[in-house]
Symmetry: C2
Subunit: 243 residues, 2 copies
DNA sequence: CGGGTGGTTGACTAAACTCAAATGATGTGG
DNA sequence: CCACATCATTTGAGTTTAGTCAACCACCCG
């Protein structure tokens, strides 16, 4: 006679987690079924409208989240209102700053976003118990640092037209994680408005718009409804991105 | 009768490590005496001349280092020669990129530098065994990410004069870790040439020079021998840095 | 003393910004 | 379904900031 279940109290992972991308490529992959069950007791999923602020600058942080879908923008502001987007988070990124009481950045939903949110205390405790969780976090943080430094080159040394090309290329590569990275073409919806793109690239809205129309009239991209973009030759776009 | 030593084979830490800053504020603080002894068997100290390349872009990484003194600049280049400094490392920062076979950045001694260098394999093994080591590394990486993002605001949204002021302020705060962070004035040697500063700020040498002379003629800073800078009022400098 | 390196200064240019207006998309109430 | 309001985006004209090119200065070292 066969047993359906090996172990009644640890073999099952929570229903919510079963098909969750964060369990495969995200930090939850570090947790065993028992830990997932414990965590899922205090976690909750949310749908967030675009434009909603998730974390405010200088606000106390009392929760972390996984991004399950959509795009979150991380911004920093100057006192006179100038803004800079310092990072974008896609699924299944972990959102939050461990080891700090208050945030130094703003996080805002750029598109509709769904999150899986946990109490900070629970994750902080699990980090102490599970080196594998810290390990995953270290890996993601190192990747974010690589990305941030890559972007510093774009901000500091590229021309407006190279910046816009770099941005489109970055989005094309991140927006659809299932897409073939060696694909020659891509089509996607921009997760950001022109104002956001300007804040990401350190440019004005007008300059972004002009460079976009230039790419369009040069036949590098096609644009529908302002947001939907098709790139027929990613190689051609890349050649315009500096790199 | 009393014993001088509790445990003959673990109580002693290597002579080299005894007064080493990396053991207090750096990653070596995560290691117990046994691990320090093991590590010190394969580690070595070096004095490096300014301008010497420590890690090349796209080169295989086979060692890590602690910065014991001096300043290391991390740079990324574009194919046509444009360069951007994406980070500066001061004592007792850990230098190296875990979990990657080859480096995506260059590291070069900006000043005379002394390093304590370890084989990559040894540290990689210790990271697996010692969660505390990964923990320290995670903390440093998160701090570097905060710094990088702070700098993205400077690169993307500040004017040339704010950039130079921000740079001087950052150096004043980092160059002498023993200095009182609430001090009102500071004096230091710039660890970078004008060309380096330009590559850090996304400006040209000429613009950096002009902004420096402007700060000098406005009485915000005093300069001797091109490199030695005195700031009488850090508050006054900060007001010119955007923030 | 001559040449090299690093830094400053000046005159001119070009890239991106500002201000302003037109166009296009979206949504609402009549 | 249309007229209208609103918001995002584009386009144009003129201005500003930082870049370019070139000359010059100071210092160091052989």
């Amino acid at each position: 006679m066969m047993t359906v279940r090996q172990d009644v109290h640890s073999a099952d992972i929570p229903v919510l987690c079963q098909s969750c991308e964060a369990r495969h490529r995200g930090v939850c992959g570090a947790l065993d079924p028992d830990q997932l069950v414990a965590l899922s007791k205090t976690s909750s999923r949310h749908k967030i409208e675009p434009g909603i602020e998730l974390i405010g600058d200088a606000e106390a942080i009392d929760s972390y989240s996984n991004v399950l879908s959509g795009v979150v923008k991380l911004t920093k502001g100057l006192s006179d209102g100038r803004q800079q987007i310092v990072g974008l988070q896609f699924a299944p990124d972990f959102l939050g700053r461990p080891f700090k009481v208050e945030s130094a950045i703003n996080a805002e939903a750029a598109t509709a976003v769904s999150l899986c949110t946990f109490p900070k205390a629970t994750i902080d405790r699990m980090m102490k118990e599970s080196p594998e969780l810290e390990h995953r976090l270290l890996k993601q943080t190192l990747n974010e640092l690589d990305d941030a430094r890559e972007w510093m080159v774009t901000l500091g040394r590229k021309t407006a037209s190279e910046k816009v090309a770099s941005f489109l290329l970055m989005i094309a590569r991140n927006i659809d994680p299932t897409a073939d990275p060696t694909a020659k073409s891509a089509t996607f919806d921009l997760p950001l408005t022109r104002a956001d793109i300007a804040d990401f690239l350190g440019l004005t809205i007008e300059t972004v718009s002009r460079q976009m129309t230039r790419l369009r009239t040069d036949g590098v991209i096609r644009i529908e409804n302002n947001r939907h973009v098709t790139v027929d030759s990613l190689g051609r776009l890349e050649r315009r991105s500096g790199a």
